[in-house]
């Protein structure tokens, strides 16, 4: 087992022996299930209306009525859930003075950052994997196109990875976990809200730049079933940038 794998295993153990992951996971799955239920009921309501209007068997598009709405709503859920998972990563190490151990171990800061990122990402992926139950069950009762669902999951995975990297950065900045959580909420909300500013500025260069910086448009396209290189580049580059910033912040603690 390499040092990075050791860090991943240690973090995963930390998550699963504490109640955090169970509470956060349960709430995440509950919200996902509840939203799915709401959208399915809404779809059913639409179906009844269509039947009344058109008569006979109406064709329902579950992709549009359920999954697109569901994945769009998940932006907000992830924004609430992921900072709770990431807040402990560095803040707790600093609070418990184990940070000094990590920093004096013969491994690089990038390995520490990578190990911590991968561990939360794995927790997130396993939670996301469990949500797969919803489309699987719906598949038994209705026909729908799986491709936009795959892209939707790709979108959630990339968005989650980006949110985790922002959370990791926030956790590296402070040794207080609550402050770390609020800091990542704040940063993510800000990135979210500037898309509104981008829309307001319209088709100007500045408006386009601002819209590009926000994750909204990129995520929406994936949820709609479009895989555009531009969006993938956005997610991977911003993820790399956030991890780089985290590296610098961790490094800077040595200079204080």
């Amino acid at each position: 087992m390499t040092p990075v794998q050791a860090i991943i295993a240690k973090e995963l153990r930390g998550y699963f022996v504490s109640p955090v992951v169970y509470v956060v996971g349960a709430i995440f799955l509950l919200i996902f299930g509840f939203l799915s239920y709401l959208y399915v009921v809404y779809a059913g309501y639409q179906a009844i209306q269509l039947m009344q209007m058109q008569g006979g068997q109406a064709q329902l598009n579950l992709n549009d009525l359920v999954f697109r709405n569901l994945f769009a709503s998940m932006r907000f859920v992830l924004l609430i859930i992921l900072p709770i998972l990431t807040m402990r990563l560095f803040a707790e190490e600093r609070k418990l003075r184990t940070f000094e151990f990590l920093m004096t171990s013969p491994i690089g800061i990038n390995e520490i950052v990578a190990g911590k990122f991968v561990s939360v990402f794995l927790v997130f992926l396993s939670l996301l994997g469990l949500t797969g139950l919803v489309p699987t069950v719906l598949m038994l009762f209705s026909d729908f196109d799986w491709n936009p669902i795959w892209t939707g999951y790709l979108g959630m995975t990339l968005l989650g990875a980006l949110f985790i990297s922002v959370g990791l950065l926030a956790s590296a900045i402070t040794e207080n976990q609550i402050v770390a959580a609020f800091l990542s909420f704040g940063m993510l909300l800000l990135i979210w809200l500037i898309s509104g500013l981008g829309a307001l500025l319209g088709d100007t260069t500045l408006g386009q730049i601002i819209s590009y910086v926000s994750f909204m448009d990129h995520y929406d396209r994936l949820v709609r079933g479009l895989i555009d290189t531009k969006d993938l580049v956005y997610f991977f580059s911003s993820l790399a940038f956030m991890l780089f910033l985290t590296h610098r912040v961790v490094e800077s603690t040595r200079w204080k």
């Binding site: 050791a6 240690k10 153990r13 003075r97 000094e100 151990f101 171990s105 491994i107």
Partner: protein, 329 residues
Amino acid sequence: MIDVQNITKRYGNLTAIDRVTFSVAKGEVLAFLGPNGAGKTTTMRILTCFMPATEGTAKVAGFDCADQPLEVKRRIGYLPETPPVYQEFTVSEYLTFVGRMRGMVGKNLTTALDQSIEKLALGSVRHRLIGNLSRGYRQRVGLAQAVIHDPPVLILDEPTVGLDPKQIIEIRDLIKSLAGSHSVILSTHILPEATAVCQRVVIISGGRIVAEDTPDQLSARLRHSEKISVTIKTPPDNCLARLQSISGILNVFQGQSAGTFLLECALGQDKRDEVARFIIANQWGLLELRTISMTLEDVFLQLTRHEEGMTPQVEHVSELSQATQETAS
């Protein structure tokens, strides 16, 4: 093994350590003595590559702490002030994690784990959660993580804090057993500890090294005179003056308890015989007669008295040793 040249660390306007220079040979145990806030932990953090020095160079096993931190870290076992333990781990899980972080795998790791658990007598708690252990045990787990990879250099920041007297003796014995094959730097403000386990002592105060020598040499350097303590059963009223009249006695002071007197004579002279004869001849009743040697506590207090208003100066030490030499000659 450790070579520190003129390292300075500044936090903004505050100078934590100022041109600190010292070295530790292979197999030597060096004590870092100093009051709280003297710069002990800062020096150790620079040596363990936790933070860089503002100026100067620090080398461990020939590798520069600033340029080759990974090589340095591989050769160091470090116990920080607070043992860096994860409370949700059991002792053996934690030490396994530490071993893996140091690149150990397979049988090497298992053997090293068993050895460190045995060395620190952690066998009875190896499957218990660290969060449920007492402070003493946590400290021992912290020490176990520092020695698990058998590093050539050990840096221990107050290793016996929180231990009971029996455990303190065990840890001191462990450190002594490591001497010879390992170079050890330990910081402490428990002075007998330095005398008990270290060959050499560095006294640091206000960020500067104020003295560096063996404990014996240090007390010899700072001693101005020989001191004898006598306890007399029935001292006469003019006892002080009478004792002063003995040839070679420079000063006589009243001791803390009744009948106890402190006699001072020139450095290198032993006047116990004369004093004993004088008291017996006068039939005052000699109850006790002994020389008083300067303890490391005295040396330490003398050198770090700046906390009470005096500025520590390296010159102050040289003045003292110069005075000592003059008196001796």
